[in-house]
Amino acid sequence: MSTFMLWLRKYQGWFGAAGGLLTATGLYLGLVASPPDYYQGEVVRIMYVHVPFAQSSLLAYTALFGASAWYLWKRDPLIDHVAHAAAGIGVFFTSAALVTGSIWAKPTWNTWWTWDPRLVSFTVLLLILIGYLMLRMFIDERERQARFAAILAIVGGIDLPIVKFSVEWWRTLHQPLSVSPRGVSYAGDMLTPLLIMAIGISLLFTYMLMVRTQLLYLRQLLDAKKGRLLSQAHL
């Protein structure tokens, strides 16, 4: 068992506990204790989960991008597990962000979908992550799987800002920004629970990343053991 993995196992509990505590506090403050927004009523409460989800989704891609670049540089298979884990968790958070965003949008703008730069970018992000996971499914050889996946993650990371920029430009031409999530001004008492939730969910994300990385590592050890047994019963 590598020292890196042992380190992860040792400290994961702290992240999980801290994250859980902060998230619970934030949810209580946000859903129970704080007042409904003047304009948007109860539905604004979904921002307490939507914004942290979106943030963690970006955090996941940053981890994926960083780990992929590191892998291509150092070729450390353990870092590849971090990348793989980050992508999977990223799919969860991105989907959650998109769903909660839609739930907020329907009563607010009377539409499930709109050409908002961030909405489109997050959708493309989700598609890139799904493509990443599919790519890994279809390559058996571990080194090649890690290498190709890393390339995809890096090209995607460069592509995402370009996507966001092109939709922003498009939007300024076609739909002057009358209402957008940016237009939501947060009242003072909203800010505290939001901040607590943001930190809490980020910590939870880190906890999930640590756990999943170990899971992938152990699964690979198991496959290696199976393979060794197989090759001893060679021909």
Binding site: L72, L127, G131, L135, R144, S166, V167
Partner: protein
């Protein structure tokens, strides 16, 4: 220099092979024809709808056609294990990439140009005076798609489920190219003054440069173990 010569050899080889077999060409052409027919049937009643949507229709047709051509670009290298020979060739992988990119650009543009008369006929478009600018937009959009597409074609040809993975990987990433190309085409076809939609063409060219450089930079990891 040998870098340029290597590019030349790849383009020559792809050109001669395609001229003789016409495999890519015919696949691309017939697929595009089917797409155009389906769209023309869908919009046959509403002339106003056509004006609004024709730019998008054109680029959907071009996009799907392009993906077929891009896929074939490297699947032809799988016959007789020719990809192996390219992988251990002393020629720079970047040169091989650029050669393939150029060949793809040429083929796909050729098919797109051949589709223009069909668009004129089925959708009653006046394209002749607009042709020079339209060609620039077509080159800009096709280059953007091909820059990433050639990279992903080289990648997906080495994995399972290659035909389905190329569009899955390419299309989300190519969103900026489609936005730029459709906007520029729409501006041109609806008779807007050039300066109004010109920024989109500039943007397309910037995207093309970025995507080509990134793919060129990364191709070594894809074509070499």
């Amino acid at each position: 220099m040998s870098f340029i010569r290597a590019i030349g050899w790849i383009v020559w080889k792809d050109l001669v092979s395609e001229l003789r077999s016409r495999e890519s060409f015919s696949s691309m052409l017939f697929f595009a024809l089917a797409v155009i027919l389906i769209f023309s049937f869908s919009f046959s009643m509403d002339r106003e709808a056509i004006k609004e949507l024709i730019a998008g229709v054109i680029w959907v047709a071009f996009g799907f056609t392009g993906i077929i051509g891009l896929g074939k670009s490297f699947t032809v290298e799988m016959h007789n294990d020719c990809l192996e020979a390219l992988q251990i060739s002393p020629a720079s992988k970047g040169a091989i990439y650029l050669g393939k990119l150029l060949a793809n650009l040429l083929f796909i543009l050729c098919v797109e140009v051949m589709l223009l008369p069909l668009f004129m006929i089925f959708f009653n478009l006046e394209l002749l005076e607009k042709l020079p600018v339209l060609l620039v937009i077509m080159i800009g959009g096709t280059l953007g798609l091909s820059a990433l597409g050639t990279l992903f074609s080289a990648l997906t040809v080495q994995i399972r489920a290659r035909e389905v993975m190329l569009p899955i990987l390419l299309l989300p990433m190519a969103v900026p190219v489609f936005i730029g190309a459709v906007e520029a085409t729409r501006g041109l076809l609806s008779g807007q003054p050039f300066d109004l939609y010109r920024p989109w063409i500039d943007l397309l060219l910037v995207f093309d440069v970025i995507f080509t450089i990134v793919s060129f930079w990364v191709i070594d990891f894809v074509l070499d173990d």
